[in-house]
Amino acid sequence: MIASDASAAWVALAYLIAGVMFIMALRGLSSPATSRAGNRYGMVGMLIAVITTLVTHGIASLPEIVGAIAIGGGIGFVTARRIKMTDMPQLVAAFHSLVGLAAVMVGWAAYLNPAAFGIADLTALIPMPGAPVAMQTPVYTESYARLAHVMAVRDNSVHLYVQSCIEMGLGIAIGAITFSGSIIAFLKLAGKMSGAAIMLPGRHVINLGTLALIIGLVGWFTQDQALWVIAAITVLAFVIGFLLIIPIGGADMPVVVSMLNSYSGWAAAAMGFTLHNTAMIITGALVGSSGAILSYIMCKAMNRSFISVIAGGFGADTGGGDNGPAREQRPWKRGSAEDAAYIMKEAETVIIIPGYGMAVSQAQHVLREMGDQLKAGGVNVKYAIHPVAGRMPGHMNVLLAEANVPYDEVFELEDINGEFAQADVAFIIGANDVVNPAAKTDKSSPIYGMPVFDVEKAKTIFFVKRSMGGVGYAGVDNDVFYMDQTMMLLADAKKMVEDIVKALAH
């Protein structure tokens, strides 16, 4: 590194400690009991990284920097306080886009000021940025002149290190893809853009061609560091980010959000390589693998291959609900809130299966009340959560936690699936595809192979649903509706549970 004291051992050590703190932050999440301590480790790690950087890189522009942190920090903090838990997926997508854009900006800043980043041998031309403040002050006023100088020299003789070019080019490209992809994901999740998959003709050829072009340009960049090369990389990467996410339907959004999470990590890692910064490299690797693992878990929970999600199109023509041949009419039973209250009161075990529909109607609080009342009557109440319940990994758990459902009453698919055979009641609210037995039996079903709850083994099934018309995200009919032991509770989820709570009180 050029910054003189930045190469000192203590600096490297400080960044390493920051990296370790980030590992501890993720480690803490192995259990809710240790998670908050973990989050604190993360904050300390970030503080160490920021202070170390400030101390080693000239305090000259400290007021501006503090101002920038205050503005950003204020916006972030207020947003974090106000955001509704149901809107968490959009927030995370928006945050990803910021990391992506920041990576692009840092990449450009490094390109424009290679001396400060130590990615080109310019020591003979420019005073060291790490020099004491007193030495820098007169230099500061000359910055315009020196900008012209640096730009001029680059065109002629000054070359960035080849390795830095690749790292920087990739960092900018990944950052730009993360940015534009996350914007689309945000718009789709926030309902500001149709969740349906939008298909362009020949998109695979266009996408692969653009990707190849970007990689080619990064290679070209090592030889020719003209402005147009890096500008072209940036623009093409923005475009491919849009193109990649636009054809992906709403049902696959949990995968997309996880995938973009991963990209934001790789972008940080690429910048870490450019800056030779261990904190950034460790963090990038952690975040990158975290997002990749979450994508894998989500894909597995939907029995979809990662490639088919990326290729897009799922839910393309089934999302509307007003198309397709008329479904066969089969007999089904309608239940009332009183029926449900009566049967559940007498039950020994009730398993509640919440889906995103519950969150949409904000029924989680009253659902917890229902659970409390049943528990008070001696009923064993458990919540069963499918990995893809909600719009992002673990979303449903957060929503239940917000409603004060104790986390030790909430179970994952594989932990509770064996218990339905002994359960008296399966209470399905706002979920559909995750309880569809067609996933186990019907090879022609679009959800075939997806792991689902064995609700049909329960003695009685209550299915809270707005109407018989709508179908799940995947647009398939559900045999559970028509089973002998099923009672359909047709109403808004919140209204229905409120009525059950009232009936239980009698």
């Binding site: 424009l112 950034m280 979450l294 959560i385």
Partner: protein, 94 residues
């Protein structure tokens, strides 16, 4: 630092990430994404270098803008994670 030693750190960190993330309980996957979001904003280190450096005015302002964006993420990410984690409670032992 040599490229190979940096690469070693990266590869080791990928393995650590793999094992640490698999040990995260699925109930906390949303906080996991929020906190990884916050820590990936360690990219602020690069933004600070640009913002603090002299030489290119454009570079400096890009750096400052990137500091703003990364700070939104750092403060927002940690705060929202903290808020979520505070909601996870065990059964009351009565």
């Amino acid at each position: 630092m040599e490229f190979v030693s940096i690469l070693s750190i990266f590869v080791m960190a990928c393995f650590i990430g793999y094992y640490v993330v698999w040990s995260v309980t699925p109930a906390l996957h949303t906080p996991l994404m929020a906190v990884t979001n916050a820590i990936s904003s360690v990219i602020v280190v690069g933004a600070l270098i640009a913002g603090a450096a002299q030489g290119s005015v454009v570079s400096k302002w890009l750096g400052l803008a990137a500091i703003v964006l990364a700070s939104v993420n750092i403060f927002g990410g940690f705060a929202v994670t903290e808020r979520m984690l505070a909601m996870y409670k065990k059964k009351d032992k009565k």
